[in-house]
């Protein structure tokens, strides 16, 4: 448990079942994450998030409706995602009456290539993965002004 991670959470005025559908149904994921979404919703299931000309594969790790959903991505092309070569995105849903506390943790960020030219090791291993990632995120946001 010694990696870099980001933790964020939000409280939503909707029951966990509704939030669960929002974060796991491809047609809903398209509205908050990627332009193109494919997802086999089962442990070990394959999926991908498509952003304009790029598509990022992912592998589902945990599916425990309606409380836990996680997947791995950002692994090097041609490799199977596992701890040590990918980031893990974990959603946790906690029902609080009619409300839901939704938490997301993305861990393993130390494995991404950070945008620096002088660390060839990282740049070579990940082919500028981090820079591309940030680029995608920026574009994703730009497509959704005001959010």
């Amino acid at each position: 448990m010694a990696d870099f991670q980001i933790e964020r959470e939000v409280v939503i005025d909707a029951p966990v079942e509704v939030v669960w559908r929002t974060i796991t149904e491809p047609e809903q994921i398209r509205q908050w994450f990627a332009d193109r979404v494919e997802l086999e919703l089962e442990p070990g299931g394959r999926g991908l998030m498509g952003f304009e000309d790029r598509a990022l594969p992912l592998v589902v790790e945990t599916v425990e409706p309606p409380t836990r959903f996680s997947f791995r991505w950002n692994h090097p092309a041609g490799e199977e995602p596992a701890a040590g070569n990918s980031t893990l995105v974990e959603f946790t849903l906690v029902g609080e009456g009619e409300r839901t506390r939704l938490r997301v943790v993305e861990g393993g960020l130390e494995l991404l290539a950070w945008p620096v030219g002088d660390k060839e090791r990282f740049a070579d291993e990940h082919r500028g993965g981090w820079a591309m990632f940030m680029d995608r995120l920026a574009r994703l946001l730009a497509e959704r002004p005001g959010e």
């Binding site: 010694a2 990696d3 870099f4 991670q5 980001i6 964020r8 959470e9 939000v10 409280v11 939503i12 005025d13 909707a14 029951p15 509704v18 939030v19 559908r21 929002t22 974060i23 809903q28 509205q31 908050w32 994450f33 839901t100 939704l102 997301v104 993305e106 960020l109 130390e110 494995l111 950070w114 945008p115 620096v116 002088d118 660390k119 990282f122 981090w130 940030m134 995120l137 994703l140 946001l141 959704r144 959010e147």
Partner: protein, 119 residues
């Protein structure tokens, strides 16, 4: 940098113990694992683990000085990494807010339909 903005930067980077180690390295410039272990309330072994992760992330580098290994912060990289982490965190905030809006709209719609049905 003000102490406040320091806090904000550090908060973007993983766990508090590791931030402590980074913070010490920033203040000290260069330090050995045993010196660091003397400054913190956790074990030398824990310090070593944090140093490995920080080095893996490219935030610190090491050099041999006699029999000692000294660690130092790569300031430029640290700055870029913390900004990138903060940006990624704000991207997730954006996504979570959209999820919130979608789920609340879906819920409101279901509730309205149910009430209509009951009425």
């Amino acid at each position: 940098m003000t102490p406040e903005s320091d806090d904000e930067l550090w908060s973007a980077i993983g766990d508090p113990s590791r931030r402590r180690v980074l913070d010490l390295l920033v203040r000290r410039g260069e330090a050995s694992a045993s010196w660091l272990a003397g400054q913190v309330p956790f074990s030398r072994q824990a310090v070593s683990k944090h140093l490995v992760v920080l080095e893996q992330a490219g935030l610190i580098s090491r050099r041999k000085h006699g029999r000692e290994v000294l660690y130092q912060v790569d300031a430029e990289r640290l700055d870029q990494a913390t900004r990138a982490m903060a940006e990624l965190a704000s991207q997730w905030d954006g996504r979570l807010n959209t999820i919130k809006r979608l789920a609340e709209a879906a819920h409101a719609q279901t509730r309205a339909q149910t009430q209509e049905h009951e009425a």
